[in-house]
Amino acid sequence: MRKLALLVNPIAGMGGRVGLKGTDGPEALEKARELGAKPIAPDRAVEALKILKEEARDLEVITYPSEMGEEETQEAGFNPQILGEIKPGETTAEDTKSAARDFLDQNIDLFLFAGGDGTARDIVSVINTEIPILGVPTGVKMHSAVFANTPEDAGKLAARFLSEGLPLREAEVMDVNEEAFRQDELDTELMGFAQTPYESKLIQAGKLPTAPTGYEKADQESIAQFIVGSMEDNRLYIIGPGTTTRAIKEELGIEDPTLLGVDLIKDRGLLVKDAREEQILQEAEDTPATIIVSPIGKQGFILGRGNQQISPKVIRKIGKDNIIIIATPTKLESTPKLKVDTGDPELDEEFQGHIPVIVGFGLRRTLPVT
């Protein structure tokens, strides 16, 4: 029997309709309530769960008390096992994290949650890529690639994953600095990575392994082998964040590289871990260099989001022709277009057109940059 963990962040999304751009932190939540915001996550969770109940047979469900899942699962017709304790009406990010901790050793097949970027961030901070997660979109900010498009889609996707098996892929968990967001500045940060199921348009469902070591991993390895095979001596490689790029470092046998930052590699060894902009500029001063980055899933940003260390100054110094983009075919499926947002409109303009993306060993795809 398959086992589902379900968690609802009941306050996620409350800030949206009252123009607050999120409910991170108690003050924002209080303000949202003052403005008359009503919870929306529970209803959306129920919507997804009802579809799941209909389509997936023999499902064991564990969840958290009252509005964090108990009520929603029961309304959808499940008979869940309840873990943990909360104070109804006063849930916080800590409750999300403790739920994630409680679910961690329960042999979960899928962790379904209703929330936004903040919820995803809290969950992933505990479980990393241990358990596949899937988000029912309810938040205001949803820059992470772990969300289904609608609650209905989330229910369907979860059902297919649990009954037939679907492939998993790496998904970026992003979060926005809410304070800046309220000032109309978009300052997205890469918070981590999750494994998330997806329905491939390319390959008929059910033919793929469900383990995180599926095609995604194999594709990452073949990209890494191709990159490493073409690395030159005495050249600086500026490697952006992500698991696709991390595979290169693994291929080189570099221990403990950064996942969220930028590493500098030279002569097949780690030169600077988690480099800042000025360190990059310093190392690239007299050495020819190549930038290797992977787009943010779904959104398609290759530069300027999650890798701000690779600044306009760095990019101009290295040159557009020395930027290598890598991505697995599964990632590109939901990322048909690439985007550049370096903060320097003139530089962004130079990237318009088509750019090759390495998608396998000796295999590239030409993608539009818009």
Binding site: G165, L202, Q204, G206, K207, G353, L363, T366
Partner: protein
């Protein structure tokens, strides 16, 4: 609908057992062969104590395999609209000819003087194929389509090496045949896949942005796998030649152009043919096939060795090995002669005008289906639905999926219940829920109607009784397979099966 019920031979609640399971110790047919040597003079390590072979009488063997064929479906059973595969009827006379002792008992090392007829057939077939494709010379050696593609890539490499140029990249559109990228990578190139535009043709801007002086070759299929003619072919060819690249035409399927246009006239430098598709020889189950490659004059010297030569003065056909620039051999001996012979017979049977008619009928049949299905709920064309297709058309069952949860796969499975082979599905990947339909020229209007009506009734069923579609097929010997289980725990041999059972 026309009634259909596939045979289902059952023995003790089980489908026709495997031949190993039917085996009974001591059973045997009569053997015309001498008794084996009691103690063969071989090293001990090479000898097996026991050989696990099934033991059955002759009649049991014949019945077993007859039952299996009755639980099977092939082009001789009915329509087989497997897009991109060109499953056309294979004339039986070609089979008879290839079975003649004069053809089937040849030895490839026989002296040339004793195989003049066979060499003449190969020589003439080369000429036919060169004429059909607008090329100057053809090698019959490759034994499969993908091997033909691979050969073209080896020729590309040899061409640039001879010019002292280093080029590392091959361009392939995303609507190309699935094997193209692999063939290029096998030959040492890296591959860049270029996207299609909203009309289902190569995106010319992306194409021009992708090619450079590092581009060795472009691999194109025209009409492409959507069944659409690349109407910007002249611009594409010019752009490619401007950067000095070679153009390879994937001619796996020429059924849409025979006698109408030629890759050579479009400006291509190389082409390969799948004789087992366009030229009516059997295929499926892994061969044997034949994938000859034709080239323009300047590439001729790189073709594999030997080619078949003809000494006009002495009226003598010979194998020409004296070709110093050749890339060498790509297949043992001279390719699959039996397949070559069947294709030769096919071309002679139809003649030049017959080949043109075959293409016209194939294109007409595909368009007949396209027009009928365009008026059917549940199926839609994703690209250029206003223009006619060539020999195949790719529909999307996405409306059925969105509305009723019935996927292209479910449609394909339900078609089997109608006694119709399913189209290719989930290919090409640029069409979601794709059903790639290629009826070929050998289907009658009645058979096409039967196919269209089956698709119509499935679409109706999807709304009235989706469960029926989702649980199909029920009229076949075997129902829906557990594909997840099959891919997780594959049982491919009797040995694996026995181990699993223990």
């Amino acid at each position: 609908m026309t009634g259909y019920q596939q045979a289902r031979w059952i023995d003790e609640d089980k489908l026709e057992p495997l031949i190993f399971e039917k085996s009974q110790e001591g059973e045997a047919g009569s053997s015309p062969y001498p008794e084996p040597i009691e103690e063969p003079d071989l090293p001990k390590e090479l000898l097996r104590e026991k050989l696990s072979l099934p033991e059955l009488s002759e009649s049991e063997v014949v019945r077993h395999f007859t039952r299996l064929t009755q639980m099977n479906y092939g082009i001789d059973s009915g329509i087989y609209p497997l897009g991109s595969c060109t499953m056309k009827y294979n004339p039986k006379i070609s089979e008879d000819l290839a079975a003649l002792e004069e053809a089937s008992c040849l030895h490839p090392s026989q002296p040339e003087g004793t195989v003049q007829g066979a060499l003449e057939i190969m020589y003439r077939l080369e000429e036919f194929l060169a004429e059909i494709s607008g090329m100057d010379r053809v090698s019959l050696q490759p034994a499969a389509g993908a091997q033909g593609e691979f050969l073209a890539m080896l020729i590309t490499r040899a061409y640039f090496e001879s010019r002292g140029e280093e080029r590392s990249e091959v361009i392939v559109p995303d609507s190309a045949h699935g094997t193209n990228p692999a063939s290029a990578v096998m030959a040492g190139f890296s591959v860049t896949v270029v996207p299609s535009n909203e009309r289902g043709r190569v995106d010319l801007d992306a194409f021009k942005d992708s090619i450079s002086s590092d581009t060795a070759a472009i691999m194109l299929t025209n009409p492409n796998t959507l069944g659409l003619f690349e109407d910007q072919i002249v611009e594409l060819v010019k752009a490619a030649h401007d950067v000095g690249a070679l153009l390879f035409y994937d001619g796996a399927n020429l059924n849409g152009i025979l006698g109408k246009t030629r890759p050579g006239d479009m400006g291509f430098d190389m082409v390969h043919f799948n004789l087992h598709k366009t030229f009516g020889t059997p295929h499926g189950g892994g061969g044997p096939g034949a994938g000859p490659v034709g080239v323009k004059k300047e590439l001729e010297k790189f073709l594999p060795t030997p080619l078949v030569g003809y000494d006009e003065e002495n009226d003598f056909y010979y194998l020409d090995h004296a070709r110093p620039d050749s890339i060498g051999k790509i297949q043992s001996f001279h390719g699959n002669f039996g397949v070559l012979l069947k294709a030769y017979a096919y071309i002679l049977l139809l003649g030049a005008s017959g080949l043109v008619e075959a293409t016209e009928a194939a294109v007409l049949n595909a368009n007949f289906i396209q027009q009928k299905l365009l008026k059917t709920n549940g199926y839609e064309l994703k690209y250029d639905s206003d223009s006619p297709c060539k020999h195949e058309t790719v529909f999307s069952a996405e409306p059925l999926k969105k509305e009723f949860g019935v996927t292209a796969k479910d449609v394909a499975k339900r078609l089997l219940d109608h006694g119709v082979h399913a189209p290719t599905y989930y290919f090409p990947p640029i069409v979601p829920e794709s059903l790639m339909i290629e009826p070929t020229e050998t289907e009658s209007k009645e058979e096409l109607d039967r196919f269209i009506n089956a698709l119509k009734s499935i679409s109706e069923e999807a709304s009235s009784n989706p469960e029926k579609v989702l649980s199909a097929p029920t009229r076949t010997a075997i129902g829906r397979l557990d594909e997840v289980k099959a891919s997780r725990e594959p049982i491919l041999t009797w040995k694996m099966y026995s181990r699993k059972r223990e």
